[in-house]
Amino acid sequence: MRAPRGALRLLSPAEYSVLAAVAARIVPGSGAPAGWPSADALDCAGKIDALMARVHPDVGHDFRRLLRLIESGLGGALLAGSPRPFTRAAPDQQDARLEAWRTSRLALLRSGYQAVKRLAHATYYASPETYALVGYPGPPDVPQPPGTP
């Protein structure tokens, strides 16, 4: 179980651990060269918790329900032959579960995959720690507007 760094604002500790496990498979990939931080190192799940605490409460509620569905062994058994909870599945099994949702014929599962995919990618690649790794020098120096001291 991955434990949160600080106080959670929306998720339960169990839901957080699912999100952190999912994020760890989405970024940066198990073949990432040395120097690429893990999702845990950038606290992606903690940042997502803080973000989703500010959206409409019903949207936050749906997000928590999605994480519980991802974790459920039932969903795993139906989709990718694995009855284990997501957080206790082997990494390649976790990838297979995400891949099954990604390409599912069921629109609801594709939506669920997109939710966690986008949140993980947004928090990871918006982190300045990853800028140099993708060849992005970061924001430039801002020229001083005329008339400012």
Binding site: L51, R54, A107, S111, R118, H121, G135, Y136, V142
Partner: protein, 514 residues
């Protein structure tokens, strides 16, 4: 006259506050600011209520991780209910103009003609709108397109289109003193972008208007066919939760300008004039399909004016849905959202970011049989947006992806990657046939929307329109709408000038009527 007004942040508003004005204006983007400027200049006492916060160039740090949660609707998470279309829509003092990419077009004449012939819009020809476009262009400093604005990302689009005879055009931009940093979408750190906040809203405040930020309007109080007041939740900015209540009593009227999602949602939630069956339907998004190409030399699409070239060669395809091409800024977070896949395959694309060029196709929705989407607000304020992908739009998307891939190969791309999920890799003209064979549908290809239109359309027929061709509500005599929700179809161009100009026209006539 009582001297200039000011912008009051929610933190300075007492828990229970009531004020009385002539006009309450909901929203501070292009539409709300233009209406506020006209009405305040005419001597009316004006209050503008804005759900988002008030930020200026000192706040704009060019970090995607700050800007999207702070300056966009739903903290950057707005999308259709099934997540198939990500909806980029502004939410701060300045509304969409705080974060738009400065592209400035007048409403196309063929779109105005369609509204006249098919949607009973009357008296809104190009000649009627022209003085308002001229005034807006002057205030926003919209000059002719400037070839010096074209960065490498846009040059690829320009060169490919030119070689194919597809007539690339330079985009006119709303900037003054632009340093071409590339961060229009995150708030301009120079305030060189001419936004509503730095133009018409500033004019309104100078003429006495008061702007209340961090105030989310949730109710309209009305009786006897007139709206009397707007009621807002005063938001705690950090939590984005209500902590107070602001009541604005409007002696003369209310102008709604919260944009094409929030205005229909507010009218539904407030149950004002919502019985026509039209409200919240025919929502148009210019559904936007991106593509990514990789080049041998660096493109660095994260820098430079983000949008300077457009291609309207395919805007009119007769019986088929048209589309036009532009470019997005290629900054890491936005690129990571757009690129499909996860794990190693996604990272390998991200590792090549400086060599990536991106083009987008915006589908011109609503001009054919495609009915658009719909907006529904729950009683507790949750907004649900649905946008089924009509067959005519799917055909247009597949055609547009094929055309963009061809264009980028002609422009010298080493590889073109579609954003199907999973993506297609195209290396030559011979590969283009794979595009039509790939599944296209919700969450099978990345789609965005940066342009929200419709949902409370104008027109002279109350059975088919929410407001008249002058923005006045068909059932509520002192309620007007002055934002993108009045457009009966997608515009076919980036919307900011159209919103400003229509709002300025409507407000001019409201002021003239006394």
């Amino acid at each position: 006259m009582s001297g200039p007004g000011r912008i009051i942040p929610g933190a300075e508003i007492a828990d229970t506050t009531a004020v009385e004005v002539d006009f309450a204006i909901v929203g501070s983007g292009a539409g709300g600011s233009a209406a506020a400027a006209v009405l305040a200049a005419a001597g009316a006492k004006v209050a503008v209520l804005e759900e988002g916060g008030h930020y200026t160039r000192r706040d704009f740090n060019m970090q995607e991780g700050w800007a999207y949660p702070t300056l966009y609707q739903e903290h950057g998470n707005r999308s259709t209910e099934d997540l198939s279309i990500m909806i980029l829509q502004g939410r701060s003092v300045g509304g969409g103009t705080t974060v738009n990419w400065t592209s400035s077009f007048r409403t196309p004449e063929r779109t105005l003609a369609l509204w006249s012939s098919r949607h009973a819009v009357s008296g809104l020809g190009a000649a009627t709108l022209a003085p308002h476009f001229e005034a807006v262009e002057k205030r926003l400093n919209v000059g002719p397109g400037n070839p010096d604005d074209v960065n490498t990302n846009n040059r690829k689009l320009q060169e490919g289109a030119a070689r194919l005879g597809w007539q690339p055009e330079l985009i006119r931009r709303s900037v003054q003193g632009c340093a071409r940093l590339g961060y229009c979408g995150l708030g301009c750190p120079l305030d060189a972008k001419r936004t509503s906040r730095t133009t018409f809203l500033a004019d309104a405040v100078a003429a006495g208007a008061t702007v209340y930020s961090d105030c989310r309007v949730t109710l309209l109080e009305s009786d006897a066919g007139r709206v009397r007041a707007v009621i807002a939740e005063v938001l705690d900015r950090d939590l984005d939760r209500p902590r107070g209540r602001l009541a604005v009593h409007a002696r003369r009227g209310v102008v709604l300008a919260g944009g094409a999602i929030n205005t229909p949602a507010l009218l539904q939630r407030a149950r004002v004039g919502s019985d026509s069956g039209v409200l919240g339907r025919r929502t148009f998004l210019h559904p936007t399909v991106p593509i990514v190409s990789f080049h041998d030399q660096p493109v660095e699409g994260f820098y430079g004016a983000p949008q300077s070239v457009s291609v309207h060669h395919f805007a009119d395809r007769g019986d088929r849905v048209g589309y036009f091409f532009e470019t997005p800024p290629v900054q890491p977070m936005l690129a990571a959202l757009a690129m499909t896949g996860f794990g190693d395959s996604h990272r390998r694309l991200m590792e090549r970011l400086p060599y990536a060029q991106s083009t987008i196709a915006l589908l011109i929705d609503g001009h054919h049989d495609d009915p658009g989407g719909d907006v529904r607000a729950d009683s507790d304020g949750r907004v649900r947006i649905r946008y089924p992908l009509h067959q005519a739009l799917r055909e247009a998307a597949v055609s547009a992806i094929t055309d963009m891939a061809r264009l980028l190969l002609v422009a010298g791309a080493r590889e073109v990657w579609t954003l199907h999920d999973p993506p297609l890799l195209l290396r030559s003209e011979a590969d283009l046939g794979h595009i039509a064979a790939a599944p296209f549908g919700p969450n099978r290809h990345t789609m965005f929307s940066a342009h929200q239109m419709g949902g409370a359309p104008m027109g002279d027929d109350p059975a088919r329109a929410v407001v008249t061709s002058r923005g006045r509500h068909h059932q509520v005599e002192n309620l007007w709408i002055a934002d993108g929700s009045i457009f009966p179809t997608g515009l076919g161009v980036n919307p900011q000038l159209s919103v400003y100009a229509h709002a300025r026209l409507f407000a001019t006539e409201i002021a003239r009527a006394g």
